[in-house]
Symmetry: C2
Subunit: 483 residues, 2 copies
């Protein structure tokens, strides 16, 4: 354990965060939002001063000395530190008067969940709304860089999925060094940001709404600047653009890089991508079928709302173009089932992830073959390559932990007297980094009414879910702290 190096690394992260906070500070200044400006300025000043002091004191230590064990702690503490700093402007400016709420909103942003405690989003100063959406964008970028560039290249199996992908496409080193991989990912991410923003503006959104919704889309976050979410704009074109980019954000970023360099072949044979698109299509058709004649008269409208909501929930974005709790129960069940899917590995999406579902599905099929041919040898292939046995282990362990996490969170939420539907889907929506749930936490409702201790547990659930359980939970094993 190298606590000082970890501290130093986090201090660097904090400085980067403070630099990004200059953007909403600038907006506050430009729009003459006095209290928000002061809050951003104070947060930036304190963060930079503290971080630079720490850095100066620890200048002798070099980040290269980090061990695997340090990696887990660093990643978890980074997300916590970011969320803490991110909460400051909300709290100091009084935009969110309670610290519990401010922290909840901030970790919901950085974990790209999108669960909100705001009862009237539109009443917030615009600079605060911008910062709120920016936390999504930063969190989304963070997770992609971490899962695709840093951890695999450092050989840290922290986010379990990396192990699961080891033989698959993700760990094909895009370029030999972390920095250049990260740079490429930034390039793609910023490219998508510019593209979506422009397309949204073409559809009539102003720059502010276009940017903030782009942040929420690409991070598969789901914070909107409107009380009724994307439904506010009531535009099939805008919903179409957002659907497209939600789907893109849910795809492994390694594949985007390849696509940009014109290598289409690996794309076509990528098992996870095929399964991801198949789920999207099947779910959209089923949902449109269940909506047609009930919630919407025309086939076109049924498909419009189905497509958007399927993409939103399965990628764990959580945007809403309609209140799905008003839909027929069969439609609601489809939404509920999609909450168990999640994006692709190496994307900004959360949840269980398509890769794991495919591995488990193929494993179940292999078991059936084994029953018929007990002496047969059946390999498990993904994208044409054999998946090693230990990856199947890692995936099944993950499944079990995920189920346990859901049950524990459900239990805690219900302890305050909330009904089964609310409690269970609250667990699904936070551990899976989705945002909206069912019952008292539907897409047109919010998390504000929950008891303080539940907000803290759900905050923790968002963090644990975002870092794919193992990274955080391993810190709670005695073995981790043993010499």
């Amino acid at each position: 354990m190298n606590p000082l190096i970890i501290l130093k690394s986090i201090s660097i992260l904090c400085v980067i965060l403070a630099v990004f906070m200059a953007a909403p500070a600038g907006i506050a200044l430009y729009l003459h939002e006095a209290l928000p400006f002061r809050a951003f300025a104070v947060t930036i000043a304190v963060t930079v001063t503290l971080s630079l002091t720490v850095n100066l004191l620890l200048r002798r230590y070099r980040a290269e000395a980090l061990s695997t064990r340090d990696g887990f702690l660093l990643v978890t503490l980074s997300w916590l530190a970011a969320s803490m700093i991110g909460a400051m402007p909300f709290y100091i400016s009084g935009s969110i008067p309670l610290f519990t709420d401010a922290f909840f909103e901030s970790i919901s942003g950085f974990s790209t969940t999108g669960a909100s405690i705001l009862t009237d989003i539109e009443s917030l100063p615009r600079s605060m709304l911008f910062w709120r959406s920016l936390t999504h964008w930063l969190g989304g970028m963070g997770i992609v860089v971490l899962t695709v560039a840093i951890l695999p290249l450092m050989g840290i199996g922290g986010l379990q999925l990396i192990q699961a992908e080891a033989p698959g496409p993700t760990v094909d080193r895009i370029t030999p060094r972390i920095t250049s991989t990260a740079k490429l990912l930034w390039f793609i991410y910023i490219g998508f940001t510019v593209a979506e923003t422009l397309l949204l503006m073409l559809g009539g959104m102003d720059l502010f709404d276009a940017l903030t919704h782009t942040f929420g889309t690409l991070a598969t976050g789901g914070f909107s600047t409107k009380n009724s979410g994307v439904g506010h704009f009531n535009s099939a074109y805008l919903e179409g653009v957002i659907t497209l980019f939600m789907l893109l954000a849910g795809i492994n970023f390694t594949l985007h890089y390849r696509m940009l360099t014109g290598r289409l072949k690996p794309l076509l044979r990528d098992t996870e991508l095929k399964a991801y698109l198949l789920i999207f299509i099947v779910a959209t058709v089923s949902l449109a079928y269940s909506l047609h004649g009930f919630s919407y008269k025309s086939v076109g409208d049924s498909f419009r709302y189905a497509m958007f909501q399927v993409a939103s929930i399965m990628t764990t974005t959580g945007f809403a173009s309609a209140d799905y709790e008003q839909w027929p129960f069969m439609a609601q069940i489809i939404i509920f089932m999609l909450m168990f899917v999640g994006g692709c590995s190496g994307s900004t999406g959360g949840g269980i992830k398509v890769m794991r579902l495919v591995v488990m599905f193929k494993q179940a099929l292999n078991e059936m073959k084994l029953l018929l041919h007990p002496r047969g040898i059946f390999t498990l292939k993904m994208s044409g390559r054999m998946v090693r046995k230990n990856i199947v282990y890692a995936v099944s362990g993950f499944f079990f932990l995920y189920a346990m996490a859901l049950l524990v969170v459900t239990f805690v939420v219900s302890s305050a007297g909330h009904d089964i539907t609310t409690s269970f889907t609250a667990a699904l929506a936070t551990v899976g980094n989705i945002g909206p749930a069912f019952g008292k936490l539907g897409p047109m409702k919010n998390y504000s009414f929950l008891e303080d201790y539940i907000k803290w547990v759900l905050s923790f659930a968002m963090l644990v879910g975002r870092l794919e359980l193992y990274t955080v939970l391993v810190l709670f094993t005695p073995r981790f702290w043993r010499k």
Copy 2:
């Protein structure tokens, strides 16, 4: 594939079934229940005539020639044939006027589920109620003999759990030959039956109620002869006796045999048993805590109702001594969580089963250790013995299939416009062979109002759940039917 041998085997089973049907026929005769008597007599006559004819025609074929593949088909068809014959008396006598309902009730009996379509149980003739409870007892005995005696000794990994147990206690051959093992199991089962019946009669139940409730207990079935279930008797003593025997029925029957022969050591080191009892104790204390002061004033009453309901749900019996839907939500969530547990392997209990949960739990822990020591080798032990890797595979495949089965059934139920809670817990209660669910299917409600197609799908779900998914689902793979 040897369809004729399979047919012959089933015909033998049908004759055995007809012999047992003589009991309710006798009761009908004794109580002068004319229509029921005629229905039993017709069913017995037709079944015996047909079966003996088939047997005579196929007298050249010997059951020993059965292949593994035949085994899967035979087991599935046996349960279907029994359910079909079992439904006849209900339908012919007019006690259950619709065939869909009669079949649902029968397969619910033989699969030891205990889900009922009866709106007024007490209005049924007593001979019919006896037969209804007897289907539980026969189904329970069937599954124990199958999982503990027949399949493992034949080397058929049909019920996946047997593979999972291969290194554990179950497949320790109690005696070298199937017949003698089966005889011992019958002996234990009948011993328990006599003991519970006597103890219930000591508590004031008449012979009829004592026997029928014993059938429902030992099979972890849950059919009662009273509209308000076990709550009807409102006796802490009777509930205590039933709790004890539900717990006993949920334990691996191999352990019972050992206990009878005075070998207590394997009992004390049995990992599954320890986990089973631990879950029971933790759940009972939590449930009592959540009930105390809300549903019941005294600590004693809280424990009384908690203990009974925990045993009932976790062993997948489904008896109710109270309407748990009237309890606080936290208490309901505990019940909901217990629906994911199930009995021990080699017991009459259904569900996921404690053995599998323990394997997955230990696997998840091992994965965390691996993250910290990537080159370490961590074995998975159960009851002091190492569990082979391929068992972990089988268990993870099972988990995934179970989740899929739940989602598919949920989807079908919701397609008729039922809410999420009803749909999802209906899936849990049928695939897990529990019986009562939540929402429109609570413990004081019934399945009668459901649409016909849903009743058939749930009937299938009970069968698939009882035979632990693989056995039935493997029949739907093209590979099974390939030469």
